[in-house]
Point group: C2
Chain length 393, copies 2
């Protein structure tokens, strides 16, 4: 029994931020009814690459969910949604603000039908504020939120983070907000609106960039792969691939110098971190030259024995076969009815007594429509056939 | 009353991943008792830059928390922790696996003292697996987890994300896992271990990089600021600053061409996204030339009117004054007893009925020690003075 196995979610979300949040809930046992447009479904079903015609992208973030087709623009579709809303704990959507109101399905309407409902909305800019009606994509919020301005090579151009963290961070905050609202409901008996904006999430992960600017007035810039204040704390080239080394204190620097066969640790120019920071330009070439005398794997072994934090810069092919990542079940196989066996990321939240589980692969479009209409709402086969003929489902 | 105002947390965490998680809980009302080493405190209290001697970094992620000094290596310190554990719902720590066991304060011991306790641990590599005993830093897990290998300029070197998302992502998953375990406890009455690894978190945010590799076998590389499959979806230089533009479909591309005064939308080389992708090298210069005819702000206005997703690439000084970010209370002032008024990031999870709140600034080291010992554990002034003399607190 998953930790969230008593939580029922009606999921109107598409593409990434919303589906990521409901995947997190689903992985810990929540029942997710994914509502999709008849004939078309979630936009990301069309995102390549495909395996036997099924989107690998869609499959990776929609495991553990049921799919029900429902046209929310059709009057019967709205009525079905209103019936379903009385059977669930949470509704999640990531439309632009106002869309659900225009469909006659806004928070107020649904809250009246089910006062216990948690209504969770993920948007680019939030339900409020001057930009609330603007369209947003991950690239735009990464640009506006500041993360691009501090990512990139030293003094180089602002660089987008290679995965869609604009969406993913919003998904994480949304999932957290949903559980917080559920927790509160156990006292008050009442649902509420959870409003998460992609842009807000980007501001929330700027970390020390904001406090550095606030105190010094200096605008943070991309600093490449160096740590802003610790030396050495960056990748070095080796005989083979580069290795990331993080000698976070003087003792680790001493161990590092010993393994590199350098006398730097006792040199007053390099003995303390402030000194290393001040004399970085002199220190780096000394270190870099020594790093080129062994392979990445040889250095890894030496550094691991000495307790010096280090690691290779893994490409994705290395990630999916890494022994630690596999030992943690972070790459798992699912068997999809059409695509067959596919590897997808595992569940990063490990609960000891009620562990999460990838119970089943992502659903085919509308795979659970009839079972849900008859099982949850008690619809007859005739009624379902009629809805299908009218393309409501 | 915050959504989590009935949740009490004993927080042994330092630096970033753990403190980020407990900040999320604190912002929604949880009571956080931050346990710190007497005389020294959380390592990040020493991270510059400072304001009146107080770390701006520490202040930004430790608002809404109480501070209690306690030496967990002293026998009396351990006893006090064991007493406190019976008064809280959650313990959070981010020591290396085995540290708490060596202190005699491992999960089994604490679980026996308080079977309802949620024990949440954030580590570099997790409680299990061959790397579990290795030290880790953000830079190392960003390297090993794959995100660096897909971030950077096109065909450029792997690039670290400019904020510590290795830590922050772990903090987000940890906070989510804690609430999931609390939810489950309301049914079972039992706590459990929540085990979150920074490396696992990095794998979980690789997004389509894993599915692309899984299906095509091609190892994803840094692709700069372009979208892997949509054109145009990248920044362009203007008369002033560059602007990020995301024309996600043919209709938006048509609007864009109209504003740029280009005939590309009817040109069969560019009419569809696959065509634009195939003829990118021809299309980009045409677009780039036109973008240089107006300022970033002029283009923003035109694109906003036409509904074309766009935004400037904001540096941090622009982020902290952005009208939408301010309207969403994502930059807020706190008044710290020593540092004075400082701006820090706001709360990205907006709950309508029980909103989060920054109730008070980050605590001075040990500010709440005596109040907690007398208020929660009923210790006398003499006993507290004795503990202080022995440097237990």
């Amino acid at each position: 029994m998953g930790a969230l196995s008593d939580v029922k979610v009606l999921d109107l979300t598409r593409v990434l931020a919303g589906p990521y949040a409901t995947m997190m809930l689903a992985d810990l046992g929540a029942e997710i009814i994914k509502i999709e447009m008849p004939g078309k479904g979630d936009d990301s079903r069309a995102y390549g690459p495909y395996r036997n015609g099924e989107s690998a992208y869609f499959m990776s973030i929609n495991r553990n969910k049921q799919s029900m087709t429902l046209n929310l623009k059709a009057p019967e579709g709205k009525e079905i949604l209103k019936e379903l809303i009385q059977h669930v704990d949470v509704l999640v959507e990531n439309f632009r603000p106002g869309t659900m109101e225009r469909l006659g399905l806004g928070f107020d309407v649904l809250h009246e039908l089910n006062p216990r409902l948690i209504y969770a909305a993920s948007t680019g800019y939030g339900q409020t504020g001057p930009y609330s009606q603007r369209p947003a994509y991950d690239a735009v919020v990464q640009a506006m939120g500041g993360i691009m301005s501090i990512t990139g090579s030293e003094n180089g151009v602002p660089t987008r983070v290679g995965s869609s963290i604009g969406d993913i961070i919003a998904g994480l905050f949304l999932a957290f907000g949903i559980l917080a609202a559920l927790h509160e409901r156990s006292r008050s008996g009442l649902g509420q609106l959870v409003d998460v904006a992609m842009l807000d999430g980007q501001v929330a992960i700027l970390e020390n960039a904001i406090s550095r600017f606030e105190v010094t007035g200096v605008v943070p810039k991309p600093i490449g792969n160096r740590h802003p204040s610790i030396v050495p704390f960056e990748p070095f080239d080796t005989l083979t691939d580069p290795i990331m080394v993080a000698a976070g204190n003087d003792k680790l620097f001493e161990s590092l110098c010993e393994l590199l066969e350098l006398n730097c640790a006792s040199d007053e120019r390099f003995a303390t971190n402030p000194a290393r920071q001040a004399n970085y330009a002199k220190l780096r070439p000394l270190l870099a030259e020594r790093f080129k005398t062994k392979t990445c794997v040889e250095w890894q072994k030496l550094f691991d024995q000495a307790g010096i934090p280090n690691g290779p810069i893994n490409t994705v092919d290395k990630v999916v076969v890494n022994e630690q990542i596999l030992a943690r079940n972070m790459i798992v196989e699912v068997d999809h009815p059409v695509a067959g066996v596919t590897r997808i990321p595992g569940i990063p939240v490990k609960l000891s007594r009620t562990p999460g589980e990838i119970r089943f692969a992502a659903p085919l479009l509308g795979a659970d429509t009839e079972a849900l209409l008859s099982g949850v709402l008690g619809y007859s086969a005739e009624k379902i056939a009629d809805l299908r003929a009218k393309q409501v489902i």
